[in-house]
């Protein structure tokens, strides 16, 4: 009995398999250091580390050298924003897939992305950027979610399937509204701005923008981290979860709100960057399995590394920046196809 107990403890202590965590963390740090160094004005990785540690030791030192300016003022906020967005989008996707017991859902399924896109497009149409854009993107992302909530609540109960269908309806509605805005937008000024923003990019990243993004994404990430075991329970059949004393009706909404916080914020600061929430959780499942206590942190680390890497490609592959959304789709679609096949091969073998 005691041996069995010890075995049980070793098996399920969260944070097992230190090797995997070490590799994932190293991958993320390496992606970030590499990204800070790479670009038209390239800085070697040791020099990046030197600049970063000097700035960390004395944050108020004057920034004089050219490479210091590029690293600290241009690339560091961009890399941090990309990493944070990558973590948020990946964790949002992983949590959503758990709640829906469906590996193919993403924040777009709930209409959050489209709602946020409408808010942002509206802001650009009236010539606003920055805080107003972020505020509107978040407000409309959340409104999309609230509308889905109203639509999906039938006879006082909310079923998973009605949430998915309502999400499609609300998503289509906001997508149409975005088209309306594009239709009325000035083809010389606001229309291209809206189109490029929707394609997604971190090119406008500054410390100020990062500061705007941190509360929403940070809060969402922390909330999902605390709910990580609950996600395992929410992934059970509805009746079964309820028989175990879980209230899936209510608790799902906590997850949805955290996800819309992260999604709305990421749409606001970087446009619609698709595929992260689909590709990364799948890769993470292959590495650490389906227990959300491992899947959530693994998705966060992998998502941060992945989006940092893709953003580096977006700004270094060609002289002009490639829209991020285009690249994530170009890489994401084949990778996701491969992961899907692998996933079902494994599932069938089991």
């Amino acid at each position: 009995m005691r041996a069995a107990l010890a075995l049980g403890r070793r098996l399920t202590v969260p944070g097992l398999r230190f090797g995997t965590w070490g590799v994932l963390t190293a991958l993320m740090v390496a992606a970030m250091l590499f990204s800070i160094g790479a670009g038209r004005f390239s800085v070697t990785v040791p020099r990046v580390a030197e600049i970063l540690s000097a700035a960390a030791l004395d944050p108020h030192a004057a920034i004089t050298q050219m490479d210091e300016r590029i690293v600290l003022l241009v690339r560091l906020p961009r890399v941090l924003l990309a990493a944070l967005s990558g973590a948020a989008l990946a964790v949002g996707g992983a949590a959503l897939q758990g709640v829906f017991r469906n590996p193919l859902v993403s924040p777009q399924v709930l209409g959050i992305s489209q709602g946020a896109a409408f808010g942002g497009a509206l802001a650009i149409l009236f010539g606003f950027g920055g805080t107003v854009l972020l505020g509107l993107a978040f407000v409309f992302g959340l409104s999309a979610l609230v509308l889905v909530g109203f639509l999906a609540r039938i006879n006082g109960r909310t079923e998973v399937i009605t949430v998915i269908l309502s999400g499609m309806v609300i998503g289509a509605l906001f997508a149409a509204l975005v088209s309306v805005i594009q239709f009325v937008a000035d083809p010389n000024t606001s229309l291209p701005a809206i189109v490029y923003w929707l394609m997604g990019s971190f090119s406008t990243a500054t410390w100020g923008r990062l500061a705007l993004a941190v509360p929403g994404m940070g809060l969402g990430l922390v909330a999902i981290w605390f709910l990580r075991y609950r996600l395992n329970l929410l992934a059970l059949e509805e009746q079964e979860a309820r028989s175990l004393g879980v209230n899936p009706d209510r608790e799902r909404w906590y997850v949805f709100i955290a996800i819309s916080l992260m999604t709305g914020t990421s749409v606001a600061v970087a446009g619609i960057v698709g595929w992260i929430g689909l590709v990364v959780p799948h890769a993470a499942r292959i590495l650490v399995g389906e227990d959300h206590r491992q899947l959530i942190p693994a998705s966060a680390l992998l998502g941060a590394a992945y989006l940092t890497f893709v953003d580096t490609l977006a700004r270094t592959l060609t002289a002009a920046e490639i829209p991020l959304g285009v690249l994530t789709a170009l890489i994401g679609a084949p990778v996701f196809g491969y992961l899907l096949r692998r996933h079902f091969r494994e599932a069938n073998r089991a």
């Binding site: 069995a4 609950r230 079964e240 175990l244 089991a350």
Partner: protein
């Protein structure tokens, strides 16, 4: 103690049962028998609070140990992790299962004789093994009430026998209120103190097992003649089983 008081459940116009009252105190075990579609599973769901009552009330602990008919999810988790989920009600929204929950889950697995399933992937277990894991999960809730939805229906004879022995063992500990549904009256004889018969047409009767499991009542329950047969027990002792008239083949 778990039970219903003057309870009714209806889906739209169709009333499954009404005016049903019974209770199972801690220390007793009740089998529920009834024809297909009569509402046995719905009755369990009503006891669990998963099915709203049109009228009446239920008495039940906040969480009951429930063993559903179709063994849980396709969770790619270990047997132990599935059992640990039985602790959910104690954890709270942000809670993480600790070593105490692990120990309780392992103990529950040992109690049902399935300690060896702790490290195996749940989605790769056989039906009989999954059943044992789900029973362990019900025990791990620590609830004074255990509800089994047709615990033997999907199992081969060996696993049926093991499940019935386990049900009887849990009954004889006399520390739980146990309810299970079944289609085999002999399973009620093997593991129940009391029986609730959900007769066709909307009548329910309940009482001690020897008053309920008898040819006349069961004949009415299923609409086929029933009779007692004697069989030899494991030590050669004479035992009785109740069978429908169609059972057996003519001796040549």
């Amino acid at each position: 103690m778990i039970g219903l008081q003057d309870a009714a459940v209806a889906f739209g116009e169709r009333t499954l049962f009404s005016g049903i009252s019974f209770s199972v105190p801690v220390g007793r075990s009740m089998a529920i028998l009834g024809p297909n579609g009569r509402g046995k599973t719905t009755l369990l769901r009503a006891l669990l609070g998963l099915q709203p009552l049109r009228q009446g009330s239920r008495q039940a602990p906040p969480v009951s140990g429930y063993v559903p008919q179709h063994g849980a999810s396709q969770a790619r988790l270990t047997g132990l992790e599935v059992v640990v989920m039985g602790r959910a009600a104690r954890l709270g929204l942000f809670g993480q299962p600790g070593s105490g929950d692990q120990a309780a889950a392992l103990q529950a697995l040992e109690e049902v004789g399935a300690g060896h399933l702790a490290t195996l992937r749940y989605d790769r277990l056989s039906g009989g093994q999954r059943q044992m894991v789900l029973i362990a999960r019900a025990l791990a809730t620590g609830s004074p009430a255990l509800l089994f939805d047709e615990p033997t229906s999907a199992l081969d004879l060996g696993n049926q026998s093991r499940t019935l022995e386990l049900l009887d063992r849990l009954r004889l500990r006399r520390d739980k209120a146990i309810l299970f549904t079944t289609h085999d009256p002999n399973h009620a004889l093997a593991a129940a103190d009391d029986v609730l018969l959900m007769m066709p047409g909307g009548e329910e009767v309940h009482g001690p097992v020897h008053e309920m499991i008898e040819p006349e009542k069961l004949g009415r329950l299923y609409g086929v003649p029933m009779r007692w047969v004697s069989v030899a027990g494991p030590e050669g002792e004479e035992r009785r089983a109740i069978l429908p008239a169609f059972a057996g083949i003519e001796a040549a």
